[in-house]
């Protein structure tokens, strides 16, 4: 397995992104118009494939019930999106907002704390020599290959022994662990935090922990943002763990809540509207986060994938 680890010295390359490639632009003129047209058609067709479902969701969420089946499904009728959102939020004392808030807490809190502890561990594995270091790293790397879903059932059994199922913590605590985060943080730290810098901080009399939080963390920002993002998405999308742990509706994350509504659509038809509007709203936070942090995570990603 250790063969999967990129040699710590190499990935420095990966950290430097596209700039070196920009001068390629003038060469583009040389390519045949045929090949360029073909490329554009392929990408255009697949743009439709990727975006039309979301477009449909937006259009469907903006219609009132009577127009849903009777008007063009891919174009707006009377625009009642905000009215629909108002109804959704008011439904059952605002349980949908509660779900969104839960998701934000599980994913935001879990990813923030998880990133810090994964960053510290990866940093220590990269920058200090101590016995057992490789063992720890290999165990953690094995953890990357253990899917979170495989752990959901045993976690449920353990939490039920100590009567912690159906609590906020039963979903929050397991979400803090990100083996992939440790892996990425280690690779990135060994490539981008110079030993001389840590040495200099030591000479200045700064403690090790303080050096990490004031000096090293700054150099690791792209990796840490990447870890944060992917853990945020993983927790936001997590389904099995909340499904198996939670009974109380007020603790649900938004995915589980919408799932629960969707499976009752046949009994309570009005839920169909709420499911569609809720689905649309639930995507927006992730899209915003990805857009805001683009610059960071694209650099961080390349560090992880380069060998």
């Amino acid at each position: 397995m250790s063969t999967m680890i990129p040699a710590p010295a190499q990935p420095a390359r990966g950290i430097r992104p596209a700039q070196s490639k920009t001068p390629k632009a003038p060469l583009a003129q040389r390519e045949s118009p045929f090949a360029r047209g073909g490329a554009l058609i392929v990408m255009g067709v697949f743009t439709l494939y990727f975006l039309v479902p979301i477009w449909w969701l937006l259009v469907a969420a903006s219609k009132n019930r009577s127009q849903f089946n009777t008007t063009n499904p891919l174009w707006f009728a009377d625009f009642s999106l905000f009215e629909n959102i108002g109804n959704l939020v008011a439904y059952r004392d605002g349980v949908y907002l509660k779900w969104m808030l839960n998701s934000a807490l599980y994913a935001g809190g879990g990813a923030a704390i998880g990133t810090i502890i994964a960053g510290m561990c990866g940093y220590a594995l990269a920058k200090y020599r101590f016995p057992g270091r490789e063992l720890i790293f290999n165990v953690v790397l094995g953890g990357v290959l253990v899917p979170a879903t495989a752990l959901a059932l045993p976690l449920f059994l353990i939490f039920s022994q100590i009567s912690l199922t159906n609590t906020f913590w039963s979903v929050f605590l397991p979400s803090l662990v990100s083996p992939f985060g440790v892996y990425l943080a280690r690779i990135y730290a060994s490539a981008s935090v110079p030993d001389e810098l840590i040495e200099a901080a030591r000479l200045d009399g700064a403690g090790e922990v303080r050096t990490f939080f004031t000096v090293s963390v700054r150099m690791m920002v792209p990796a840490l943002v990447t870890v944060f993002l992917f853990q945020f998405v993983a927790i936001w999308n997590n389904f099995f763990l909340p499904l198996i742990m939670l009974r109380d509706e007020t603790l649900f994350p938004v995915t589980l809540g919408l799932y629960a509504w969707n499976s009752q659509v046949n009994q309570i038809p009005v839920l169909r509207d709420y499911v569609l509007i809720g689905a649309l709203l639930s995507i927006i936070p992730l899209i915003i986060i990805f857009l805001l942090l683009q610059r960071f995570w694209r650099n961080g990603l390349s560090a992880g994938s380069v060998k």
Partner: protein
């Protein structure tokens, strides 16, 4: 997997410090570990949580899977007693479970190559000088990754349904939710969500290749196709292998999408995928058998991704 898991159970918490005492004997010149306190402060928070929420559950699942429920008479109190491998015998005799394994393997053999093939094609196009508007395409293709699997499945469930779909001309004639097609309808949902994500990983690897490497090939008159095939793809093989392994793991663990599709299609049974079987069995409740299912599934996942890794590495070495 039981052997390594057992020996590793107490590793992360302890390992930072204690292997010192073990290592010291064989290796004569003792090197003092500096900054022990700081190392512990850095490693322990993750180590403890990793132990509690990764290693302990793995151990506990194995332990539970070795127990059986015994009752005194028909209505007596149930007690858990050690049952050896009897749950595993049940697992291996369980027809629906192996059918579900076969189903996700078939799913993976078809869906993973299609998804990664598309991701590679898009990444190469983004990296080639053939395309304009790269920022737009990169973003547009990545957007579905922001849609949680559950939500994507709900959305596509409506898109497939015969009467609600915006493409009712198609869905009235082809039943995407029928027993024959529903597996591939789910495959489409998974592909839709993850192509962009895999594309970005591969694209990042492409960006890291020094341009000089294929400028030389260009001067020799190689076209874009040739450069992609002979220069770029071999160099980004590690990234492709990485995405393949994560896709294989994801396929064996399929749960959210089929679980959602159960409310759209009666063809998705409660044992449609291995993880659905685990969930269904645990809610009977028969936790010991469910634990045994989990262990077998985790071992199968591990073996498959590990074999794939070794296999591709040997091919690369040639």
């Amino acid at each position: 997997m039981s052997a390594p898991a057992a020996s590793l159970t107490d590793a992360p918490g302890r390992a930072a410090r204690p292997s010192k005492s073990r290592d010291r004997k064989p290796r004569a010149p003792k090197v003092r570990v500096q900054h022990t306190g700081a190392i512990l402060a850095f490693v322990l928070p993750f180590g403890i949580l990793f132990g509690l929420f990764y290693l302990v559950p793995i151990g506990y699942a194995i332990y539970e899977s070795l127990l059986v429920i015994k009752r005194e008479g028909t209505f007596g109190a149930a007690t858990e007693v050690f049952g050896g491998f009897s749950q595993y015998i049940l697992v291996f005799q369980n027809g629906p479970f192996w059918q579900s394994i076969g189903r996700v393997l078939m799913f993976g053999v078809v869906q993973v190559p299609i998804m990664l093939g598309l991701a590679l094609l898009f990444a190469l196009l983004l990296d080639s000088p053939l395309l304009r508007g790269k920022r737009f395409f990169r973003l547009a293709f990545f957007v579905p990754y922001a849609v949680p699997g559950v939500i994507a499945a709900i959305m596509w469930g409506y898109l497939y349904s015969p009467n609600l779909s915006p493409f009712s001309a198609v869905t009235e004639n082809v039943n995407f939710l029928s027993a024959d097609l529903v597996l591939w309808s789910i495959a489409n949902v998974v592909t839709w969500v993850y192509v962009g994500y895999n594309m970005l990983i591969i694209y990042s690897a492409l960006l890291a290749i020094p341009t000089e490497l294929y400028e030389a090939a260009r001067l020799d008159g190689a076209g874009q196709m040739r450069i992609a095939w002979s220069v770029k793809i071999p160099l980004i093989m590690p990234a492709i292998v990485l995405t393949a392994i994560f896709s294989i793991i994801g396929t064996l663990q399929l749960l959210a999408e089929p679980q959602v599709f159960r409310s759209f299609s009666s063809a998705v049974t409660s044992t449609f995928t291995p993880n659905l079987t685990v969930y269904t069995t645990s809610s009977i409740p028969n936790v010991n058998l469910a634990a045994a299912f989990s262990v077998v599934l985790a071992v199968a996942t591990f073996i498959l991704s590990f074999t794939f890794l070794k296999f591709t590495q040997r091919k690369e070495a040639k």
